[in-house]
Every structure is written in structure tokens, then in C-alpha cells.
Symmetry: C2
Subunit: 289 residues, 2 copies
């Protein structure tokens, strides 16, 4: 049993912290910007509420964060009441936010100077993956810190991989989102075409889904897409945040992402249709409008 802090109890962080307590058996201190959520978590799981990230991290072996974006991440780490002020020597900070590779490298440097470790460890698997403790965790950082943190991370993960030095977890998550953008648009165009052609979409997917057109998205989203159901899953607003990170990084590393950039614009259309919180598969709704 380790002493653990968790910063950020959103739709992902709340159940992830829960698994650290229940599956991992760790002593968990939680911090959340809106304190009521942290109190609700403690009422449900036990542990303690901290008033600030500095207070939460104080004396802990492992400090996790899962917040909104680069700015939020900087606030809970190197901000005025940030966790980095109280991290103990040899402790490990594990950030599960999807953020830029740059902020990951910056925080890894600062952590090293402070005598502790930082791992960028964004996740995929969505809210359902967080709730069921079966997330995929893509980690960037030092091998030694990774090996120490891995058994703790395992409490909410099905797959945990060390991808390379600081920032590599974020870069891997970006590849994941880039692949999804093109894939979901292709699937949306296929289903849109099939509906216009008057075909039975269920029958079509049954026949083609095991072959060269098959994908997780086809398997798991065709029914809801065909039914026009988008009030669940991974929200368009978050996908746009992630694609923005991908496109900015591509400007730095020189990768060309024409379809990713186009699909990002399509998601802007979906936001304009009132679909900010719709699942990413709502690209079909845009084609149908």
C-alpha cells in the first residue's frame, strides 16, 4: 500500500482514483477545483480531501493528475499552490491528462531538478474504460520511475506501455487520436452512403466488419450512428482539444496531417450544430444535416 494523491476528479479522474483506492488498496488523498466533488469522493471511498495540490502531494509516494489541458496541468503542478512545491524526494508524479509533449518535457525537467520524477501518462478507453478500470496508459519518462509506478497504475489499466523519454506518452496518444479522426470520418461517410443507398446498415456491417474495412469504431459505434444516438462517449469538445495538440505538434515536427486537419474543421461544424458534448461518431450527423 502506497500513499497516493489524485488531482482532478472529472469523469475520468473520479473513477480512476476510485480504482487506486478499491483495486489498488492505496491510501488516497484527493484534490478537486470544485471541492464538493472531492467531498463526495471521500464520502464514497474514504481517504482525505486536500485544500490545495500542494497539500495533497505533501509526503506522498505517487501523485496523479487528470485535468483539462496544459494550463490546468501547469496550475496543479507549478502554480502558486501546485503539487511540485511539496513533492518529496524520490516521489513520482504521474499525469494522466492529454496534454502537449512540450509541457510534459518541461515538467519532467522541473521534477528532475526537484529530486522527484514526472511521467506523462495519458490514457485511452474513455469514460467506460475509466469506470471499468481497463484503460490503456501510454507513458513517457524514465524506465526506473515507470517500473515503480506501473504496479500502482495497473489499478485502473488493462495495458500500460513505456513509449520512450518524457513526452512520448503524449505523442503516442496523439497518434491514437490522429488514427481515430480519419477512421471515424471514413466510417461516417460509409454509413451515410449506405443509408442514402437504402441498404440495411446492420447487415452491411455484419458482412464487412471482419475484413479490410473493419475497426473498433465500426464494431462499437455503427449501431448508435445508425440510430443517430450521440449523447454518450468521447465528447467533440475534447476531441478538438486533442486534435489541436496534434496539429500544433505536427507544425513542430513537420508531419503533414491533411485529413486530421479537415476532420478537426468538421468537428467545428458539429460544435456549431450544438454537438459540443456529442460522441466523436457524430461526424455522421454533420453529413446528414
Amino acid at each position: 500500500m502506497a500513499s497516493v494523491a489524485f488531482l482532478g476528479l472529472g469523469v475520468m479522474g473520479y473513477p480512476m482514483a476510485g480504482h487506486l483506492r478499491n483495486k489498488g488498496g492505496h491510501d488516497v488523498t484527493v484534490y478537486n477545483r470544485t471541492r464538493a466533488k472531492a467531498e463526495q469522493w471521500v464520502a464514497q471511498h474514504g481517504g482525505s480531501v486536500a485544500n490545495t495540490p500542494t497539500e495533497a502531494a505533501d509526503g506522498k509516494d505517487f501523485v496523479f493528475s487528470c485535468v483539462g489541458n496544459d494550463d490546468d496541468l501547469r496550475a496543479v503542478t507549478i502554480g502558486a499552490e501546485g503539487a511540485f512545491q511539496s513533492m518529496k524526494t524520490g516521489a513520482i508524479f504521474i499525469d494522466n491528462t492529454t496534454a502537449s509533449a512540450e509541457v510534459a518535457r518541461e515538467l519532467a525537467d522541473k521534477a528532475q531538478s526537484g529530486g522527484f520524477s514526472f511521467l506523462d501518462a495519458p490514457v485511452s478507453g474513455g469514460q467506460a474504460g475509466a469506470e471499468n478500470g481497463v484503460l490503456t496508459v501510454m507513458v513517457g519518462g524514465e524506465q526506473k520511475a515507470f517500473e515503480q509506478a506501473r504496479p500502482v497504475i495497473d489499478a485502473f489499466a488493462r495495458m500500460v506501455g513505456l513509449m520512450g523519454p518524457a513526452g512520448s506518452g503524449q505523442l503516442t496518444k496523439m497518434i491514437n487520436q490522429i488514427c481515430i479522426a480519419g477512421l471515424v470520418q471514413g466510417l461516417a461517410e460509409g454509413i451515410h452512403f449506405g443509408k442514402k443507398a437504402g441498404l440495411d446498415i446492420e447487415k452491411v456491417i455484419e458482412v464487412i466488419s471482419k475484413g479490410a474495412a473493419g475497426s473498433w469504431q465500426m464494431e462499437n459505434r455503427h449501431k448508435t450512428m445508425n440510430a443517430g444516438k450521440y449523447d454518450f462517449g468521447f465528447a467533440v469538445d475534447w476531441m478538438r482539444k486533442d486534435l489541436g495538440i496534434c496539429l500544433a505538434e505536427a507544425d513542430r515536427n513537420g508531419a503533414k496531417l491533411p485529413v486530421t486537419a479537415l476532420v478537426d474543421q468538421f468537428y467545428k461544424d458539429v460544435q456549431g450544430m450544438g454537438g459540443k458534448r456529442w460522441d466523436t461518431s457524430s461526424l455522421l450527423a454533420r453529413l446528414e444535416k
Copy 2:
């Protein structure tokens, strides 16, 4: 055992006709525009060579075709020496060409007038699927003819589905190709980005391939894409033919296919790079050029 004719012994038709003979145990007469290929087939498998489609189809229970495009299909069916001139009453013509839904409907009408049946039955699974007899066959046409033809088709198929009336097999194949176009471009952008970011692509795919970004293409093409190997698989020239059919049909049924149209243009770039015969995954080569 049925009497069968097969018209068109290309990379797909040659092994498909072989399975009708060897797995199906049928008596097969073959016709090919370049006669030498038909003679080679008969030397290998037995059966007979016909000089024309009319001669091949004469008296047969089932006549298959697998040719290049709509024009080739019209030539072997309703052309001067076409099979429709000699189809016997109650016989079934099964076309495995990827062609337009229009030509399928036209030929189904003509067949009905002539007292026989026509099924549009394009396949997916590529050359390897044809050679191993594990193709997916998407069929359009009448239920009764489908049921009669199905046990014969099974000789080269793993999955055979009746998708609806005449043309529905072709429309289903179009959905398959539309899904693949966006998907492969997304995958190419993801791998391109990963290489530019200096990541270990094998490790990345290992971690992300079971999740929301996962696909048949990711599983089966990432190694060759990462190695820049494209001299195999489903050729860009054929993909462009198929996407042309999709885009023309979309103009008729009103479906919007922005990424499919864009990826078709990208394949034009690949053709210009000397990649006419490269696998569809060569979209990565275009990004890297």
C-alpha cells in the same frame, strides 16, 4: 456437381475458378481474353477452354465473371460474343467484378427478360483471400437465385451475404471501400506523425491497436508501412477505379463523401509517384515524399 463457366482469369478470377474446381468439385469451363492464361489454367486444373463467353456459358448452370470494369463486364455479358446469348433457362450468372450498381441493375433486368438470373457479387479479401478461398462476397439479387448459387460460391468464400435487390452487392462493396479510404489515410497520418516524432512504431501499435484506434488495416499493414514496403496487396489503380464508382454513385444518391474524394486525389498523387501497382497503404509514401 454443377456445370460452371468462369469468365476472366485475372489475379482474382484465376484462383477463384480453381476453388470452384478443387474445393467445389465442379466441372469448370474457362474463358479469358488472353487465351494463353485459360490454357494454363486448364493444364493445371483440367476442364475446358472456351473461345468466347457465348461458348463458355452455353448449357451451364452457373456462369461466373470477374473482369476489370463496367465496360469489360458488358462485353462478356451482352457483347457480340457475350454469355447472355447462350445462357440456358433457369441458369444463374454471378458477377464478381467490382462494378457500378447501375450496370448490375441493367444486367439483372436483361437476365430476367432472358429467363435466367443475374447476381452482382463483388468480393473483398484481395489476392490472398482469393488464393486461400476466404473471400467475403456481397450479393445483390433475388433470394431464390442467391440460395441456389450460395453453395457454389462457398467454394471460394468465408462470408457470403445477400444484401438486397440487384445492385446491393455493389453498393455494399462501395461502403467497404469508402470506409477503407478514410481509415488508411488516418493510419498513414498517424504513422507519419509517429515517425516524425521519433517513436518506435511497433511499440506504439502494440499499445494502441486493441483500443478505439484499432483496425484490420492497423493490424495487417503497419509493419509494411513502417518498412516502406508497398509491392503487394490491393493496387492503387484498382482502388481509384473503385472510388470512382463510389463517387459517381454518391452523385446519384446525394451522399457527401469529402474525405473519400480527397483520398482519391491523394491516390492520384501516388500514381504520379510511380505507385499504380502499390498497395493502398502507400498513402504513407505520399506523406513522406
